[in-house]
């Protein structure tokens, strides 16, 4: 994935900041000044080894030069182009110049950000329309409310027309029908109240996260994961939508239970001593490894503890909990890369998996992943077991060691052509 425009400009800016001459940087990085000049002016692609040498000479992490916020922007722009082509149904006629995405973002950063933001907004709106349609068609509460209204209306209409009809109705029947109408009118009032409440549009529709689960994730990030186990948080979740509230409550209760079973400061000390290895900690506390992983994600990134991300999904691969960490993202809607250990362990419940993985790119972002899937601890005879997979993610920096497994950002924006798990072509090729 070439990112010469952006990387070159960034190298130049860093060098200027350090008041370093071009010749000196070139010398320190072991390349010719004219070559560096071409790189800085975005005329040459830059390979991993040279980039690392320049980064060393500038005393910055190579990822600072190669994978900034712009990498995300480029990915969003490519996705926007692919979505637009897909929507019109004629890829050839409408496809933007995807091969020039870097140039576009480099030369018109404001416009590029606008395109990306609009594409995101479009995706959000599409998602909301789909969710609302789904709700109208399938929500059992809506169907029940409608049925109530129609039943009550039917009964009232039929009964009242008997009473106002020309034929005489004896007194006993009259009294009975009056009582029925009164009863049904109350039913109708209650059902229509529920229905109106259900159909009432929320005022801040544009700002809401797509799903209650995303709302909970965003709240956890805002609130801070480490304090989420506290009892005072219960009042704070009042700001969440009614659907998200019980989900947040369930997670807070689970966090609280984990904090009791593996209490601080003992847990923090043990985690450091164990090198944050979930297996060691699971043995030490006699807890399921999936619990230990979630507990590790609750430890703040201070005092020698690494930054961590976590993903929890169900048997259908749908995320139920997500804590982001630099560079780590999984799609909420749409298809993720099946090579993430999170999905690999779904087929082998009870078997933990530790993998180093790398995202594609000239300076691949790398993560240490610990994953394991567990069946529901309270199984039932009459239903198949539910399954939950947990993956703890620790971003890795420094020199590359070992041979990380390739994972991707999702087929559509993944540059790995020869991939057994590819579902659809990439827009990058």
């Amino acid at each position: 994935m070439p990112q010469r425009q952006l990387t070159g400009a960034r190298i130049r800016a860093r060098r200027m900041d350090k008041a370093m001459r071009q010749a000196d940087l070139a010398h320190a990085a072991g390349i010719s000044p004219s070559y560096l000049n071409l790189i800085e002016h975005n005329r040459r692609r830059i390979a991993g080894r040279v980039l690392q040498a320049i980064a060393r000479a500038l005393d910055v992490d190579p990822s600072v030069l190669a994978d900034g916020a712009e990498a995300g922007l480029l990915q969003q722009l490519r996705l926007a182009a692919s979505e637009a082509a897909h929507a019109t149904g004629d890829p050839a006629a409408t496809m933007a110049e995807v091969d020039l995405t870097e140039d576009f973002a480099g030369r018109f950063p404001g416009w590029a950000a606008l395109v990306a933001a609009q594409a995101q907004r479009l995706a959000r709106l599409h998602g909301e329309v789909a969710a609302l349609t789904d709700r109208l068609a399938h929500d059992p509460r809506l169907a029940t409310s409608l049925h109530e209204v129609l039943s009550a209306a039917t009964s009232i209409r039929s009964t009242s027309s008997i009473l106002v009809g020309t034929e005489v109705v004896d007194r006993d029947w009259q009294a009975r029908f009056h009582a029925n109408i009164y009863q049904d009118s109350q039913r109708l009032a209650e059902a229509s109240r529920l229905l109106v409440g259900f159909l009432e549009a929320p005022g801040d529709a544009g700002q809401r996260p797509l799903s209650p689960a995303e709302e909970v994730d965003a709240w956890l990030v805002r609130h801070g994961w480490q304090g989420a186990a506290g009892a005072d948080t219960v009042a704070e979740i009042a700001t969440l939508s009614p659907l998200a509230r019980p989900m947040a409550q369930a997670w807070i209760a689970r966090f609280a239970a984990l904090a009791v079973a593996m209490p601080d400061p003992d847990f923090a000390t043990s985690a450091l001593a164990a090198g944050h290895d979930p297996a060691v900690l699971a043995a030490r506390y006699g807890r399921p490894m999936t619990d230990v992983m979630i507990r590790l994600a609750m430890v703040p990134e201070t005092d020698g503890h690494p930054a961590t991300g976590i993903a929890v999904c169900d048997g259908a691969g749908v995320l139920t909990l997500f804590k982001p960490v630099a560079g780590f993202a999984l799609p909420r809607v749409g298809a993720a890369c099946p090579y993430w250990p999170l999905y690999q362990v779904l087929s082998m419940p009870g078997q933990p998996l530790r993998r180093a993985v790398a995202l594609p790119g000239s300076m691949p972002q790398r993560f240490a992943c610990y994953a394991m899937a567990d069946r529901n601890p309270a199984p039932r005879f009459d239903r198949p077991p539910t399954i939950e997979a947990v993956m703890l993610v620790v971003p890795q920096s420094g020199p590359m060691t070992g041979d990380p497994e390739p994972v991707g950002p999702g087929c559509r924006v993944c540059p790995r052509d020869a991939c057994d798990a590819r579902r659809e072509p990439s827009v990058l090729t």
Binding site: T154, S155, R157, S158, T159, S161, I162, Q183
Partner: protein, 122 residues
């Protein structure tokens, strides 16, 4: 002898109102509220006509209708279906299953009587 109609519906007040107007119109009205046992009741004592609600506890009106049409004894039995939704999809499903007529809730009493008269040979 009065014609017999079987009303299969689970809303007590609707049962009461419809029973009243049909009885007054000269029908002998039997009622049944449980979807699950409806087919047994019909075959045990076949009426001249059936008024069948779609939303029933235990078994839906569509399933009851499907079983009626699969049974040679009830294959031609006139069925007036009451549906809470007037959507084309439901209408098509009912017609495919062999419904004789149907009415959308909330209907008028006159509609019920008119439909029943039309559906029964003199």
């Amino acid at each position: 002898m009065a014609k017999r109609v079987l009303l299969i519906e689970d809303e007590p007040n609707i049962i009461e109102a419809i029973s009243f107007i049909l009885t007054r119109d000269g029908w002998t009205v039997h009622t049944h509220s449980d979807g699950e046992t409806a087919n047994d009741r019909i075959t045990a004592m076949p009426p001249d006509i059936i008024i069948l609600d779609v939303m029933l506890p235990g078994k839906s009106g569509y399933d009851i209708l499907r079983d009626l049409r699969a049974d040679p004894r009830t294959i031609h039995l006139p069925v007036l279906m009451l549906t809470a939704r007037g959507q084309t999809r439901d209408r098509e499903l009912a017609e495919k299953l062999g419904v004789t007529r149907f009415m959308t809730k909330p209907f008028s009493n006159a509609e019920v009587l008119e439909n029943l008269r039309d559906m029964t040979p003199p």
